[in-house]
């Protein structure tokens, strides 16, 4: 991947942008962008609607149940990095004194791994400051939208109200049947191909931090609404080959998981870029941002 500023648009995106106003996207780019800061290749996903199993753990009538599937609608285009943040990109944040060095010892256009949720947040803040743009981690829903057909969600066992162990056993069997072997060495960006939306390396061997908090939710007995939920924002949703939940300070997913279950091979991240509102754009043009 080039170090020069490059912005490419996926095909889905190009169509969406025509309606939305391409000029905005291009106009905002050079503002506050230092020469040495490369801009990540982006994929812009048009608006759309899809079914999504919610993140978290769900109880109904005192028993754990599968995550409810909710129709999610993406109203505005979503600008997401085509690749996970690379070691060289992350290294510039480290060189700037903002980011803590990652635990991985590779270099170049390999996804940065050995980074916690805290590290990912620091990087997003730093990149936003360097570029004058609004970079952040995607939500679980945004990640799933970008992941498209490569989204798997949680590996869930079958519930049996009379035998809680059945859920643990079926989940264990399901995980085993998936037959995924540990694959700890991060590979060059693009090694795991692109999905139907042009997003690269989804569900490879680097799991990605999202901004969605882990939550316990109670589903009403009618099954139609969430009666109550409690978020734990010290734990965030991690997405990849499967969806899992990790404490924010964990850098190595292998040791951050539970006694049983598939641990992420590596933890990394990619960011989304929020488009400035027309008001913000106008203010920037006047040099007031």
């Amino acid at each position: 991947m080039s170090f020069d500023p490059v912005i490419t648009f996926g095909t889905t995106a190009a169509v969406a942008l025509i309606g939305w106003g391409v000029s905005h996207a291009l106009d905002t780019r050079p503002f506050g962008l230092p020469h040495q800061t490369a801009v990540s290749e982006l994929v812009v996903l048009g608006s759309g609607s899809f079914e999504h199993p919610q993140a978290g753990e769900f109880l109904k009538g005192n028993h754990p149940v599968a995550a409810p599937i909710v129709q999610q609608t993406m109203k505005a285009p979503l600008e997401i990095m085509k690749y996970q943040v690379s070691i060289s990109e992350y290294g510039r944040c480290v060189a700037d004194g903002a980011c803590k060095p990652a635990d991985s010892r590779k270099s170049g256009d390999i996804p940065v791994t050995g980074v916690s949720h805290i590290d990912a947040e620091v990087y997003a803040t730093w990149l936003s400051a360097r570029t004058g743009q609004a970079w952040r981690l995607p939500t679980d829903v945004e990640w799933a939208y970008a992941a498209s057909e490569k989204f798997r969600g949680d590996i869930e066992g079958e519930g049996d109200p009379n035998n809680p162990a059945w859920r643990w056993l079926t989940r264990y069997r399901l995980e085993t049947a998936l037959g995924r072997k540990p694959d700890p060495e991060p590979r060059a960006q693009g090694s795991f191909g692109t999905n139907s939306k042009g997003v690269a390396d989804i569900a490879g061997n680097v799991w990605e931090w999202t901004s969605t908090c882990y939550s316990h939710a109670i589903i009403a007995i009618d099954g139609k609404r969430i009666e109550s939920s409690i978020d734990n924002c010290g734990v965030h949703v991690v997405e990849g080959f499967h969806r899992t939940y990790m404490s924010d300070f964990i850098r190595d997913g292998k040791s951050g998981g539970c006694a049983v279950g598939t641990p992420p091979d590596n933890l990394g991240f990619r960011l989304v870029r929020d488009r400035p509102s027309p008001v913000q754009v106008a203010l920037r043009r006047l040099g007031l941002s």
Partner: protein, 367 residues
């Protein structure tokens, strides 16, 4: 030479003579032994154990085993870390050999010429000759046959002991296993009542000491000999880089998780040839535990965690009462989680609400 036993019983070995063995130690002549029935056992790799009678049928016999030593690289964790392994019969640990008290264990040990090192075997179950080590040293291209009488009932370690610094190095390269000598009339609980098992699993725990390069990455060596100097330095620090069951982190999980059903009784034999350990079954217990592994001593009851001394093997009997996934760990949890000493059991059956139930699922705290 007329032995005391021959004088007492005559040269014909009868069933009555068999019964006297435990109570009245007697020395059989080579001729006597030669007349004993023979049984040839094909060993199976752990955690499985070859078919055997829990209560001996008939009198003592000679139980024949053959093990071939294999030196080969083996992967010991999910990161692909490589051990220049030395193995009895290709597995770490070597297979569990089961005989009965009073039987003769006869092992043919083969060291093929594809190997590069001399090896031997020291049976903790055997008496004399450094456990047989003195009589079994074989160079590549040689084989040897040793017979010893199983005079004490229990679980016992065997390991390679080719002298000096070679001893610990061969052991931490994988060369250990266990023998189980069952009482002729089977296992007994603390009150002397017979107990039986429906399943038996053998877990060998190993501590490995893999050298690292300047970057902290585990080093890979062409041959075992190449790693000797570096490995010895790590060994002298006494801090293992890996503590694993059956040769590899994760070797007894997923597809290889051990299986059982609610109501089934299992005997779990656990050996550690080099270093102390403390097995624990998360969510279960040891109903009867021979912590030191010697069946002449009554088993301890209802243990939560048991202690296996380095250089010994113990046995725990447990009847599963609840279904689910059980983790069997070395309850130094750092060693279990970070260094690899975790195995899983998948246990099917009906849940018992009387033993445990979630009265109320997690919900918001109400004041």
């Amino acid at each position: 030479m007329l032995t005391r036993r021959e004088a007492l019983l005559g040269s014909v070995l009868t069933a009555a003579a068999v019964a006297s063995i435990g109570a009245m130690p007697a020395v059989a002549s080579v001729k006597d032994v030669a007349g004993l029935p023979r049984e040839k056992i094909t060993l199976v790799p752990p955690p499985f154990v070859h078919a055997h009678d829990q209560v001996a049928k008939g009198g003592p016999k000679i139980v024949e085993f053959t093990m071939t030593i294999e030196e080969k690289p083996m992967v010991i964790d999910a990161d692909g870390t490589q051990l220049n392994a030395m193995t009895y019969n290709g597995s770490i640990p070597g297979p569990l050999m089961v005989v009965h008290e009073g039987d003769y264990l006869e092992l043919t040990l083969i060291n093929p010429d594809t190997n590069t090192l001399a090896h031997n075997i020291d049976f903790h179950a055997a008496t004399g000759g450094l456990g047989g080590g003195e009589l079994t040293l074989v160079n590549p291209g040689e084989q040897v046959t040793l017979r010893f009488k199983a005079t004490r009932a229990g679980t016992f370690v065997y390991h390679c002991a080719p002298g000096g610094a070679m001893i610990p190095w061969h052991v931490v390269s994988g060369m250990s296993g266990a023998v189980m000598v069952l009482p002729r009339d089977g296992l007994k609980d603390d009150k002397g009542n017979p107990v039986r098992y429906d399943r038996i699993y053998y877990i060998g725990e190993n501590d490995f000491y893999i050298p690292r390069d300047e970057q902290g990455k585990f080093k890979k060596y062409e041959t075992a000999g190449d790693n000797y100097d570096d490995t010895l330095k790590v060994m002298r620090g006494l801090i293992p880089t890996h503590v694993v069951f059956n040769g590899r982190a994760g070797s007894l999980t997923g597809d290889n998780a051990m299986k059982a059903k609610v109501g089934e009784t299992m005997l779990l034999v656990h050996s550690q040839a080099n270093r102390d350990t403390r097995p624990h079954l998360i969510g279960g217990h040891g109903d009867f535990v021979w912590e030191q592994g010697k069946f002449a001593n009554p088993p301890a009851k209802d243990l939560e965690t048991w202690f296996i001394r380095g250089g010994s093997a113990g046995a725990a009997l447990y009847t599963f009462l609840q279904p689910g996934i059980y983790a069997y760990v070395n309850h130094n949890l750092i060693e279990a989680v970070e260094l690899g000493a975790t195995a899983h059991f998948m246990v099917e059956g009906n849940w018992d609400d009387d033993l445990m139930m979630q009265v109320e699922a997690p919900r918001a705290i109400t004041s």
